[in-house]
Symmetry: C2
Subunit: 198 residues, 2 copies
């Protein structure tokens, strides 16, 4: 058996920590990297390490170079009185891409999950409660994924906001372009529940 140098083993191990990268893929990547110039290796290494300097928007928690992100800086959104609560930055970007939401966002950074030790304190829900009052939020859209944890988090969130606030959850049903025959029974059930006069 060939004994590979530590630098190779370490690089393979490092790459397997990325999602969707197994040992074989990581090894193939490292083999390709052994043909790179030193400067390329250094630039990739430092680009990844630099992620530690990533800053978040003080208001919504989105990635931002400045203290406030470009979304929170829009005056129209500040005065809209609508807050969309999402789990993470990717979800925020997915909603923003649709171009159909013109309010503020709040990134929870997770969902309640007692098994993993994620409770209301970890999600900083006290700050969120305060924000709803200070920002004069009239409507909250819960845009958490449909899962046991997402559902539980939505129920909990509903209980902590003032009664005067209108709380909604995004609609569930057949996705556009989806085909009924391939959808799971839960989605079909939701689609039937959420039927609308046509």
């Amino acid at each position: 058996m060939i004994q590979l140098p530590e630098v190779i083993k370490n690089a393979v191990e490092a790459l397997t920590r990325l999602p969707g990268v197994g040992e074989k893929t990581a090894f193939r990547m490292v083999m390709s990297m052994t043909n790179w110039k030193n400067s390329e290796l250094v630039s990739v290494g430092s680009a990844l390490a630099s992620l530690q300097h990533l800053k978040l928007c003080r208001e919504c928690g989105m990635f931002s170079d400045a203290d406030l992100c470009s979304i929170c800086l829009e005056e129209q959104r500040q005065s809209a009185g609508i807050l969309c609560i999402v789990e993470n930055a990717s979800d925020l970007m997915a909603i923003e891409k649709s171009g159909h939401f013109k309010g503020l966002y709040h990134i929870l950074g997770g969902v309640l999950n007692p098994l993993l030790g994620v409770g209301p304190d970890e999600l900083k829900l006290d700050e969120l409660k305060l924000k709803v009052v200070t920002k004069n939020i009239q409507e909250i859209i819960l845009a958490l994924n449909p899962s046991v944890e997402g559902d539980a988090t939505c129920s909990y969130l509903k209980s902590i906001f003032p009664q005067s606030v209108n709380i909604e959850r995004i609609g569930f049903g057949v996705p556009i372009g989806g085909s009924l025959e391939y959808l799971d029974p839960m989605t079909i059930t939701k689609a039937l529940e959420n039927k609308k006069r046509f």
Copy 2:
């Protein structure tokens, strides 16, 4: 459109340089990395940058922590008088895994490719010629891949070694576990050419 911070763009760009990683995959990887601890980011970054310190065996060109790799250090191989010429370290490892070669290796580091400017000088063939003489090599096995460049390189290599050296090329045909119906005509042709009395 959301303006993403430079650190994210840089990390995505860095990851797309890896083989098999497109922009979407890289973005997904970076999103996952935004949840990592700083220490993890630093360790992955430095593990990749450390690949620049990778050392090669002085004799065969294989990765090695020491001046000579574990294969070149085996006395039995040194005295066998057989040299297997491969394109890169991955090919060497594939042959070594079979456990059926007990001679020395030589990693070319490429194949002749005039279009990419790879000529005999780039492959350091003078050193290889010298090695064949000094190591008293009696048999050379050309283990280059079957491609236009691989074929051309084999032909060229055959012309530079002393006539006394027995030069062979690895056999081509139906791979074990392969199915004739799915194989390309070139492979079938080679398999027919290379038929053996049974």
